[in-house]
Amino acid sequence: MFEKTQDQSPAKSRAGRAYLGRIGATGVALVLLVGVIAIAAAKGETHIPLGTVLQTIANHLWQAGYDVDPIDSGIIWNYRISRALVAAACGASLALSGAVLQALLRNSLADPYLLGISAGASTGAVSVAILGFGAGMVSLSLGAFLGALVAFGFVALLAIPAGRGPAAIILAGVAGSQLFNALTSFIVTKAATADEARGIMFWLLGNLSGVRWPDVYLALPVALGGLLVCLWHARSLDAFTFGVESAASLGVPVRRVYAVLIAVAAMMTAVMVSIVGSIGFVGLVIPHAARFFVGTRHGILLPVSALIGAVFLVLADVVSRIILDGQVLPIGVITALIGAPAFALILCHGRVLR
């Protein structure tokens, strides 16, 4: 009745079809993403026609030789495309980290900043910007990154003796976040001028203004690498459906998966936060939105979360640039302002469907 079967021939053709379907879906996703990025490059204080955007991209990617106004070309390529790519990488990474942490910790309120990363990053950032840590040798981003790692290390060290379980990690994260937020407030209150305080607040809410190509070269590989590692563990994440013990009884090496995936989520988040500041809401809510559309199996949930996160953040950045004339709003304000009502809609709708 329960013999172990070896024959796999009909299985192969089915797997092959699933494989083709996956390639097709990936294609559609990429087209969607490129489309949104092209729109992001067209919109802004000066509106540039989409045609010009596409010509500029073609010129840069394969020397197509279209005749484009060099000023337009500069704005598109040096400012807007790089910015949109970083926004996409950041949105994808935050959404992925959120999805992974929610699955591992069995908690729908888990988000990438749970591990103390955004608190640590802001402490790092104010240490550099206000206390002058590193004497000019350390950039704001590097300071934020180091702060994030220190805070994550602190949380991890706290969680290990506390039992390593979901509850231990969540509580350690809360403790770590509170501590580093307090440090940030302490430094700001003690040493910052009004201007510095305002600058820091702007940074904390997320800011893509200073983003250029070198940031893309960092953000994109981190996001793609993170996506691959998470996808590699998609089945293990599924096995956590009924909790940690059940995952162990299904043959998942629980400790190793925890260590690898939490480290990857922390790295992705730390890198993104150090480039653009701590953009809230994406990591918490996008995975829930994705679950609403495609269900809870991680093989499909993870790529869809990443895609929705990327598209959402690129669009949020466009809105943040054009909603107020002559002023850029922090993107974190937009993600929450648009995201919260949208999420409320999904939530109520989902409730009705149940």
Binding site: F2, R106, D238, T241, F242, G243, E245, G251, G295
Partner: protein, 266 residues
């Protein structure tokens, strides 16, 4: 293939939860594990399932120590159903049972028709095929428990380990579930609370008290008035019916908790 514990102890932190347990599970049998609350049944089940490594002694599958076999290979031989595992994820019954195929799947061996076939069989053996497309959160307690068993069966295990599988079920579903499990072609180890159930369904019973395994034997050998008084602190008569089965009849007012009542009468 046998499942065996050799002088196993397990600590939670510095506290000894079980110590010096030796037990050999024979192929094909239904072994019941009984004992009062906190006697270490659940800890012993998870050591037996290979989820917890013993602090002392060895847990063996066949003639190999479990730690050398590896999590994934263990999961192909031992299916484990915990007490009360629930989820807030919106998944279907079929997806939940499909999780049982996890130890067989990898990037190079993705989900196949065979896996679907095995999941179907597993659903059939717990009579849940009709409910395959229902959502998990719409199931009753008894249905959820059967889905958990189907998930464990989809692992195609030689051993099925159940930790208090009948908790929170009504009497009809308790008996139905145990009958169903008994009819399955696997070796079963089940921690049971109801001693009459243990008497009805088990080939052998292992009795635990304060972290130690104090006796193993047939139901008639283990379920004696003496043992029930010493281990569970209750007074009971044991009747053996004409088919050789024990039935336990408990006496009221002897459990030690009725002192107040007696005082009032006095």
């Amino acid at each position: 293939m046998t499942l065996e514990l050799r002088n196993v102890g397990w600590n939670a932190g510095f506290k000894k939860i079980i110590s010096d347990v030796s037990l050999r599970v024979a192929p094909g049998e239904f072994l019941g594990l009984i004992g009062p609350n906190g006697s270490g049944k659940t800890s012993m089940m998870s050591v037996l399932a290979g989820i917890r490594a013993p602090s002392r002694g060895q847990a063996m599958l066949g003639d190999q120590p479990m730690k050398q076999i590896g999590r994934r290979n263990l999961a192909r031989q031992i299916g484990f159903v915990e007490q009360q595992a629930d989820t807030i994820d919106r998944i279907t019954v079929r997806e939940a049972v499909g999780l049982g195929r996890t130890p067989y799947l990898s990037l190079l061996t993705p989900w196949s028709e065979d896996d679907s076939e095995i999941v179907d069989q597993a659903l059939g053996s717990v009579e849940m095929r009709d409910m395959a497309d229902r959502m998990w959160h719409t199931l009753s307690g008894g249905e959820k428990q059967r889905v958990h068993i189907a998930r464990a069966l989809a692992q195609q295990p030689d051993f099925l380990l159940l930790d208090e599988p009948t908790n929170h079920l009504d009497i009809h579903h308790q008996l139905g579930l145990l009958e169903l499990v008994r009819a399955l072609p696997v070796t079963v180890v089940a921690a049971l609370h109801d001693l009459n159930h243990a008497a009805m369904f088990c080939d052998r019973i292992a009795m635990m008290d304060r972290g130690k395994l104090i006796a193993v034997g047939t139901p008639e050998q283990i379920l004696t008035s003496q043992n029930l008084r010493d281990v569970f602190g209750v007074a009971a008569d044991i009747e053996i019916d004409d088919q050789g089965r024990c039935h336990i009849r408990y006496h009221v007012g002897t459990s030690g908790h009725t002192g107040i009542k007696k005082d009032r009468v006095a």
